[in-house]
C-alpha cells in the first residue's frame, strides 16, 4: 500500500475528430477508496473510464496526465505493449454487458486462468505451474459466489446466466489483485436482485484486497450505496466533487441539484410532477462556452459565460458554479 494516491489524473483532455469530449479533468483516488463517477449520456463518463486504461479509439488526441500507483510511466501516451502489462494487473475494468464480455468459445475457467498466466504472478503470487493456477481459479470463482466452482469452471459462457457471467467478469478483474478496479455500469443490464448481489460482490472484493474502486454510472442510489466519494460529470467536465453524504444532501452545482431532484422518485409526492432539468443534453460539440450547464440552468447569468473556477484548492471536494445552491447569494 503506497502513501500516495492509487490514481492521479491531472488536466486530462480528450479530442476525437472535431470535438473536444473531455476537458481538463483533475481528480485522484487513494488506496482503498470507493469513488463514484456520476454522469448521464453525453457527459463523457465512459470515455473517462476508457482513458484511464488507455483504451481510447484510434484518432483520439489525449493531453494531460494519468498516473497509476506501481506503474512507472504515464498512461497518456503509453504504447499498447506497455499498457497491456498494466491492464488486468495494476488496474482492471468491468464493463456493462455481461453477454459480450466473455469469449463464447472459451470455457470460463480458462478465461480466468488466462489473465493470471498473462501477468505471470507479479512476484506477489508466484505461480508454480498449471495445478496452482487451476486451484487459484477455483478459489476466485468461489469468492465471487458461484456455486460448484470446480465444475462451473468448465462451463461455457452461454451456459451461465447474466448475473453469473458478470461474476466471472469480476473474478477475472480481481484475479491479479489490482490496485484499482474501474467499473462502467457493471449492473445496469442486470435484474434488481442480481444487481444487488453483484454490487455487494464488487464492494466486498475490493475491500478484501484493499483496492480502490471507481464506479462509473448514471444511477445515483447505486453510488450512494456503494461509494464514499462522488464526482459529477456534465459536458465532459467534472462539475462537482465531494463526499457522498455531503453532495447528495447539500448539492452545490445546479446540475447536481437538478439531477438529485429528477432522480428522487421516492420522496416526490404521487400525483405531483417530478422536478426536471429543462431542455436536453446537447450533442457533442454543441455545449456552450463558459459553464457547460448554463443553457439549461434557471440561475444562469452573464457571469456564467466565463468558465467558472473550481471552488476550492482540493480537486476532490468542490464545485464549478458561480451561483451554487444552498449558499447565500
Amino acid at each position: 500500500m503506497s502513501a500516495g494516491p492509487v490514481l492521479d489524473v491531472r488536466g486530462l483532455s480528450v479530442r476525437i475528430g472535431r470535438h473536444g469530449l473531455l476537458h481538463d479533468l483533475t481528480f485522484s483516488i487513494r488506496s482503498g477508496e470507493r469513488v463514484g463517477l456520476i454522469g448521464e449520456s453525453g457527459s463523457g463518463k465512459s470515455l473517462t473510464s476508457l482513458a484511464l486504461l488507455g483504451l481510447l479509439p484510434e484518432g483520439a488526441r489525449v493531453t494531460g496526465s494519468v498516473r497509476l500507483a506501481g506503474v512507472a510511466h504515464d498512461v497518456v501516451g503509453a504504447g499498447e505493449r506497455a499498457m497491456a502489462k498494466v491492464r488486468g494487473n495494476d488496474v482492471s475494468m468491468v464493463f456493462q454487458e455481461p453477454m459480450t464480455a466473455l469469449n463464447p468459445t472459451m470455457r470460463v475457467g480458462a478465461q480466468v486462468a488466462e489473465t493470471i498466466l498473462i501477468h505471470g504472478g507479479r512476484g506477489r503470487r508466484p505461480e508454480a505451474g498449471r495445478g496452482a493456477v487451476r486451484e487459484r481459479v477455483v478459489t476466485l470463482l468461489d469468492q465471487v459466489g458461484l456455486p460448484t466452482p470446480a465444475e462451473l469452471a468448465r462451463a461455457y459462457p452461454h451456459q451461465l446466466s447474466g448475473g453469473q457471467r458478470q461474476r466471472v467478469v469480476v473474478a477475472i478483474a480481481l484475479a491479479n489483485d489490482p490496485e484499482l478496479l474501474v467499473c462502467d455500469e457493471p449492473t445496469t443490464a442486470l435484474d434488481v436482485t442480481v444487481q444487488a448481489k453483484v454490487l455487494d460482490l464488487i464492494v466486498r472484493g475490493v475491500e478484501a484486497r484493499r483496492a480502490a474502486l471507481l464506479l462509473v454510472t448514471h444511477d445515483l442510489p447505486v453510488v450512494a450505496t456503494a461509494c464514499e466519494r462522488v464526482l459529477v460529470m456534465y459536458g465532459g467536465r467534472i462539475v462537482e466533487a465531494g463526499a457522498v453524504a455531503e453532495v447528495f444532501t447539500r448539492p452545490r452545482h445546479r446540475y447536481t441539484e437538478g439531477l438529485l431532484g429528477a432522480s428522487d422518485l421516492e420522496s416526490a409526492p404521487r400525483g405531483k410532477p417530478l422536478s426536471t432539468i429543462p431542455g436536453s443534453v446537447p450533442p457533442a460539440g454543441a455545449f456552450p462556452e463558459g459553464c457547460v450547464f448554463r443553457t439549461r440552468c434557471a440561475h444562469a447569468t452573464t457571469e456564467c459565460a466565463v468558465q467558472p473556477p473550481w471552488s476550492s484548492a482540493d480537486p476532490g471536494h468542490g464545485h464549478a458554479c458561480v451561483h451554487p445552491a444552498g449558499v447565500a447569494p
Binding site: G17, R18, P288, C297, A300, T301, T302, E303, C304
Partner: protein, 295 residues
C-alpha cells in the same frame, strides 16, 4: 453584472425539433457508378442513331485491323467487322440482359421472400425448399433447356437466367424480412392496427430495400457474364446481333495473336459490372436515412 441571459439561451422556450438534417454530398460510389452506367446507356442510345460502320457487315478486306486504324478506330475482328460499332450496339444487349434477368429475379424473388417470411410455417417452409431445389439446378442448363423449347434468343436466355437467380433474392429477402418482422416497430404497427399487407408493404419492403439493391447489382454482373457463357455455347444472343459476351467468346481462338479482340469487350463488361455495383452501393447509402455526415 448579474443580468439574466438573453432569450436565445433560455431553455424554457423552443419545443424540441430534433437535430436538423445534415446535407450530404452524394458519395463517390454513387457519382462514379452513375457516370459509368450513364456512359453505357449513352453508348446504347447513340447506337440507334449512328455507328461508324454497320456492325454486322462482313468485310474480308478489312480483317484484323489494329486499334487506332483510321477507319476502324478500335480495330476490326476476324470477319472484318468494326469493333467499335459492335461495342456500341452490344451495349444495348448488355443493358437488356441486365434489365431482364435482374427484373425477373427481383420481381419474382422479392415477393416470394417476403411471403415466405410472413407466411405460416406450412407455407413458408415448402416455399424455401422449392427455392433450394431451384438453386441447386444449374442456371446455364436451365437456359439451354429454355432455348431448346422456346427457341434461342437473348430474351429467352435471360428469362432463364433470371429464374435461376430468383432463389438468391428470395433467400436474402426472407432473412432480412424475418429480422424486420421481429423488430419492435413492426409490433407497434400491429398495435396500430396495420394489416399484414400493410406491414409487408410499408415496413418490410423499405427496410429490406438496401439488401435488394446490393443483390441486384451483383445479379446484374452475373447475368452479363452468364450471357457471355451462353453465347460461347451457341445459346444466348444468336449471331449476327452484336453482344459483348459473344465478342469475348469469338476472340478466344485469336487470344495470342490479337489479344485486343478480347481486351476491348472484356474491359467493357468489367466496366459495366463495376458501374452497376458502385451504383448499387451508392443508391443503398443514399436512401438510408440513418447514414449521416460521417465525422
Amino acid at each position: 453584472m448579474t443580468a439574466p441571459l438573453p432569450e436565445a439561451l433560455d431553455p424554457r422556450e423552443a419545443a424540441i425539433a430534433g437535430q436538423p438534417p445534415v446535407r450530404r454530398r452524394p458519395g463517390p460510389s454513387l457519382v462514379v457508378g452513375a457516370a459509368i452506367v450513364g456512359l453505357v446507356v449513352v453508348l446504347a442510345l447513340v447506337s440507334f442513331v449512328w455507328t461508324p460502320h454497320d456492325p454486322t457487315l462482313v468485310n474480308a478486306g478489312a480483317r484484323l485491323r489494329d486499334v487506332g486504324d483510321p477507319e476502324y478506330w478500335l480495330g476490326s475482328d476476324k470477319f472484318g467487322r468494326d469493333v467499335l460499332s459492335q461495342i456500341l450496339v452490344g451495349a444495348r444487349t448488355t443493358l437488356f440482359v441486365g434489365v431482364v434477368a435482374v427484373g425477373v429475379a427481383g420481381l419474382l424473388g422479392v415477393p416470394l421472400g417476403v411471403v415466405a417470411a410472413m407466411a405460416p410455417r406450412w407455407l413458408g417452409e415448402p416455399l424455401m425448399r422449392g427455392m433450394d431445389l431451384l438453386l441447386a439446378f444449374p442456371a446455364l442448363l436451365l437456359a439451354i433447356m429454355f432455348s431448346a423449347v422456346y427457341g434461342g434468343s437473348t430474351l429467352v436466355a435471360m428469362v432463364a437466367i433470371g429464374i435461376a437467380t430468383v432463389p438468391s433474392f428470395a433467400r436474402l429477402v426472407r432473412s432480412g424480412a424475418l429480422q424486420v418482422l421481429s423488430s419492435e416497430y413492426v409490433l407497434a404497427a400491429r398495435a396500430a392496427g396495420r394489416s399484414a399487407w400493410g406491414i409487408g408493404l410499408k415496413h418490410v419492403l423499405p427496410n429490406v430495400s438496401s439488401l435488394v439493391i446490393v443483390q441486384a447489382s451483383v445479379a446484374f454482373a452475373i447475368a452479363v457474364l452468364a450471357e457471355a457463357a451462353l453465347s460461347f455455347l451457341g445459346y444466348g444472343t444468336p449471331p449476327p446481333t452484336p453482344s459483348w459476351g459473344r465478342m469475348l467468346q469469338e476472340s478466344q481462338e485469336l487470344l495470342f495473336s490479337a489479344p485486343r479482340l478480347a481486351f476491348v469487350p472484356g474491359s467493357a463488361i468489367a466496366l459495366a459490372v463495376l458501374g452497376f455495383n458502385l451504383l448499387g452501393d451508392g443508391l443503398r447509402d443514399r436512401y438510408d436515412p440513418r447514414l449521416e455526415d460521417r465525422r
